[in-house]
Symmetry: C2
Subunit: 352 residues, 2 copies
Amino acid sequence: MKPSTVSRSIGRTSRANTTIRDVANHAGVSPATVSRVLNGGYPVAEIKRTQVERAVRELGYIRNAHAQALRRTSTGVVGVIIHDVADPFFAEIVAGIQEVAAASGALVVLCNSLRNPDSEIRYLQMLRGQRVDAVVVAGGAFENTSYRRALQQQVSDLKRQGTPIVMCGRSSRSTDAVWPDNRGGAEVLTRHLLERGHRAIAEVMGPPNFSTTKERSAGHRAVLASAGVTQDPSLVASGHFTRDGGYEATRYLLAGHARFTAVFAANDLMAMGALAALRESGLRVPDDVSVIGFDDVPIVRDVVPGLTTVSVPMREMGRRAIRIGLAGADRGPRLEMLPVYLVERESVSSPA
Amino acid sequence: MKPSTVSRSIGRTSRANTTIRDVANHAGVSPATVSRVLNGGYPVAEIKRTQVERAVRELGYIRNAHAQALRRTSTGVVGVIIHDVADPFFAEIVAGIQEVAAASGALVVLCNSLRNPDSEIRYLQMLRGQRVDAVVVAGGAFENTSYRRALQQQVSDLKRQGTPIVMCGRSSRSTDAVWPDNRGGAEVLTRHLLERGHRAIAEVMGPPNFSTTKERSAGHRAVLASAGVTQDPSLVASGHFTRDGGYEATRYLLAGHARFTAVFAANDLMAMGALAALRESGLRVPDDVSVIGFDDVPIVRDVVPGLTTVSVPMREMGRRAIRIGLAGADRGPRLEMLPVYLVERESVSSPA
DNA sequence: CTGAAAGCGCTAACAA
DNA sequence: TTGTTAGCGCTTTCAG
């Protein structure tokens, strides 16, 4: 019996994890041989291979991923930072990411920033410490210089480490990115409303200082302007990108004196809130007021009336983002703006 | 200049990650000292501490979590296995888990089994390899002996490693668990329907061989039986725990000849599908048919008519599950069945 | 208070 | 084809 075997068997039988050494001893081979059969792609005598496989099975052995990560360059883990899992928009993106990560055997570390810029930066650091194989940051960007600077720092630190980082849901000049045509979608929706005869259109905006808010609002206003419709400032309210944010903003609008025949909401969740507020005020959709959303999250086809919105390929965005990340360090930023399209349902009609 | 410094600076400036050694050299101290200031709780001269902190900042140094995990007993990572992130029931649970994990500085690895038992087992193994500090398995159990056996094996392997595993959404005898009162909730709902005068109640069940399906169905049938109402077999259909599963099952029921005045759906998503199928058939809810759901996922308050359902504290279940896991290895299984309560909205009325 | 040294569990030369 | 060896980057005795 070799010394190593002895020293191992002396210890308490308690909490010691099974190591590659235990498997080697159990199978009567060296750790290197065990490693070779586990990794494959290296010649090992059939008899030894069988012995090792049996030992692995009998001991219920699983390699320590950290020891492996320390020696190798890849960890088999990817990091994902989103605003909030409970938001269906992000849940869909994560589902897409998971799907391709699973297909390539990678695990995903999911981080919720809860729309706190500092928290996003902190997660980026933690993911860097984890030496993840790729990171995808989903959701619109915070438009604030200190955030921008901190993000830029993380991006370059990550690059220095050789870790690809890809943005999902925001455009970018310096890193890989996949995002929806926010501006184009807003234009399509606004044109749709205009064609139906609406002129007094309330805008339920997202929070200021978000790239998503800016882009969608810009598209909306540009079309309005080019159609010669001036936006009444008292018909604009902003709120969080949530159902309650849309609800509050709409209540605020309703409390004012201005009248409107349609609501342009920054996303579906806010549109749902608008629908609730309108309903509470006794206003019917679309008979009294028309409402449009943005994103086409799964639930909006089940509300009544069905919400007319623009479809953003959330799941596909997630898939593409992680595929780009997993494909390796960037050879010049890969930028993909995904098209969106109008989905007409029942929440829009012509004003009386 | 010390040898170590020299050897480091000889290499290419390229892809080398910054290590604790680089920081030590930069600050003119030993790696041990750097480690001590980084970890805190150990006396270090004020001057050296300052030097180290500056070096860390200047180098943008972040410790390699894997090297750390290899030396320490904890990894600061927890594992979570759910059925599907895109399902709001699970998204809520994950949000709760994330919340407390973040508060204790832990990262979460999220795994989607997509309701595939083999996939769940495989993830359990991977999480074991990651030496996560705790794992929570959310969602109902697959009622099948080979799964049960494999799960039991994983649980004991995890225990041997000293990793707490807690079930979230299913009861258990051998491990820690937090779950909703599925049976009680089904009873409350059924009684509610009975009190409104319904007797011909269709049951839109979940998939067979799921603990959740069994428990909810059992509660429903028990109340029916004790009220002397016999369930018409042609009024029972099962489907996946999704909106489409509920839709298909309801379509199937509608295609049959049997008539019913209410639908008892196994969860909210299936109830939404039922609502859609009913609407398509020209049936009004609740005037022609009443519908109830289960879980009270966030969206159901926004459908029209608002869905009457039973509220399951999803987020709180997630919080509790991870708290139990993070609290350490079990001192006898901690079992918590959380109460549920009826939420009356507008989807139920008395039959004509 | 500080540094040297050992070693966590694994893989990849390098020898044999 | 196989084993021995040298670390990956960190923390933690153990001396000083």
